[in-house]
Symmetry: C2
Subunit: 357 residues, 2 copies
């Protein structure tokens, strides 16, 4: 049976000051009136019943996740004692699925992305699940590039293998880290590369088998955690072992070396919304190019991103600037420096200004 | 006897968002740990007893003024029903003084300026008061220019007349509106021009005589208000007539055409703190040229003015920008546009965002 794994463990420091430790990015309503995590849940709910939707959250946000997704059984929200990257996260979830459903197939979704055509997404996910159910292997969904984006990783498309309901399933030839602009242009112009969406499909046991083969230390740790599932020691075992699991990503730690790899090229609008400027590109702007949300007042201001969760923000004679205001913190930086927000969060940690972290 | 008139009627829109309708500039602690009005009071208190210090305030801020200056008799805070510029303000105060003290001499001080050497100020004020007490006429205090400032009006220094305790009293030859830079350079390089500090001294009856001679409509209105002082109709008369008084400044409405005019050149540090950039010049900055007040965090930021009354403000990769944050409003603009804050306030009024006005 199909299960959905929503990976909701991100700290989301790139959206400070809107995102905080207790309200990371997946809890933000960045675009469509719903928190991103809620939107992710609602996207899969029509094809996966709630008792087979699993959310892996940071332990700090487990309760907030349960509140936001009240339809889920409480035990379907899995709290990671600490973030150990996506291989540990997906492996842990696969064990939980396997303990309920030995033939379980997982579709894996990051909690904090934006997707345009949700019907198409569901169709692609169902197709991917059907394919791995019958063929085995690990499958990733790749987005056809619409621009030479340097902020995403890419997938190298392999030979076509089969076709299900209009979706072509290809072999996956490999992963490419975020390219420079010249390389990204080549990729965007060719038909041979896709954006790595971070969405996957596999049978739970196939993923765990690949982890066992390629990452034995991770497999050992996960197995000890799995053995404790349903036992009185479940929580303490998780708490003791999870923080010591090896930290690696699904993409490079597991998929890159997997024996059977697939990809389905998809064509719906997709964004990982990785920064304030990336968000701004998805939002409507006024005649002066300003993205304005909340009570903001641009005067002779061009091409700015002005977002307020409360305070009035007046911006005069400025160009290409991002101003984000919450009730207790304000960020000002040029759009070109949009990737530096993480540094702000690091400095705030050094300063011990915990109330705004 | 000497009386001090503190003119505290300013709306202070140039310091939005720190200044508001109910907390105009004179209530802000911009530099030395005291609200500007409190500092003005404390500067004159050593030479003028509290019952002879008069504060003319907007009616909206009368109670706040009384709270801030608890040493003052309540009736010494005069509420203007609406702002009618400095000639009406000084004339009204002169009538109040005259009703108590027919020989009263007034030193007149704006409530929202910064002054360095307060001992020197008091010495100059006492000297000015002594001079006009014996010689009559209207006297202004002029600050020796230290730079070619285009943001101030200038006084044209006339012939020396006399000397009291080291202070030279000159004839005043006239007023000059804010000059362009070339003219300001000429003035700053010559010995013949002073900055118009907005501080004055005169006998109450001499001021009123000049108003009578030059501004008969204003004199008539003020006389009706004066006739009601101490009567049951005092408040209603003030309320009815004051808003209709002709609106003109002491400088151009009265001093410019006065028959006997004096000026005392003074050399203490003085600023009218007319804008955020003007304030910034008075404050200490860090090694990167940032003026930083409150919980502000500049990262690779040069020559900015970052002032917060509460929210954390992080500014990354910006230069020459002013960011002012209060709990409910944020202002972002280049230092070079520091004079445009009034426009922000006008736009907020148009938008009806009264909660931040």
């Amino acid at each position: 049976m199909i299960h959905a794994i929503i990976m909701a463990g991100g700290a989301g420091t790139r959206f400070w000051p809107a995102s905080r430790r207790h309200r990371p990015k997946q809890f933000l309503d960045l675009a469509d009136g719903r928190p991103l995590l809620r939107a992710t849940f609602e996207r899969v709910a029509p094809i996966v019943p709630a008792d087979r939707i699993w959310v892996v959250s940071g332990q700090r946000t487990t309760e907030a996740t349960r509140s936001l997704l009240a339809e889920l059984p409480a035990e379907n929200v899995l709290g990671e004692p600490s973030g150990r990257d996506t291989a540990a996260c997906a492996g842990y979830a696969a064990h939980v699925v396997l303990s309920r459903d030995p033939e379980g197939v997982c579709v894996v979704l990051p909690a904090d992305h934006l997707i345009g055509d949700e019907e198409r997404l569901r169709s692609a996910l169902a197709t991917g699940a059907r394919h791995v159910e019958s063929q085995g292997g690990l499958l990733t969904f790749g987005v056809r590039p619409t621009r030479p984006e340097t902020g995403y990783g890419y997938l190298k498309l392999g030979e076509p293998h089969s076709q299900i309901e209009g979706w072509r399933i290809h072999r996956l030839d490999g992963f490419v880290e975020k390219p420079d602009l010249a390389t990204a242009r080549t990729y965007a112009a060719s038909d041979g590369y896709l954006w790595n969406s971070g969405m996957f499909a596999w049978r739970a046991r196939d993923l765990l088998e690949e982890i066992r083969r390629q990452l034995p230390l991770l497999a050992d740790g996960l197995q000890l955690i799995a053995d404790a599932l349903g036992h009185p020691s479940e929580a303490s075992t998780l708490h003791d072992l999870y923080p010591r699991l090896p930290r690696t990503s699904i993409d490079f730690g597991v998929m890159e070396g997997a024996r059977r790899r697939w990809t389905i090229p998809v064509d719906f609008t997709w964004s990982d919304v990785g920064s304030w400027p990336a968000l701004a590109e998805l939002l409507a702007c006024d005649a002066d190019g300003n993205v304005a949300q909340g009570r903001v007042l641009p005067i002779d201001a061009l091409d700015n991103v002005l977002i307020s969760e409360g305070p009035v923000v007046a911006a005069v004679d400025v160009e290409g600037v991002i101003v984000i205001a919450t009730k207790d913190a304000v960020l000002v930086l040029p759009a070109a420096s949009g990737q530096r927000v993480k540094e702000v969060v690091s400095r705030l940690e050094e300063l011990g200004w915990d109330d705004v972290l």
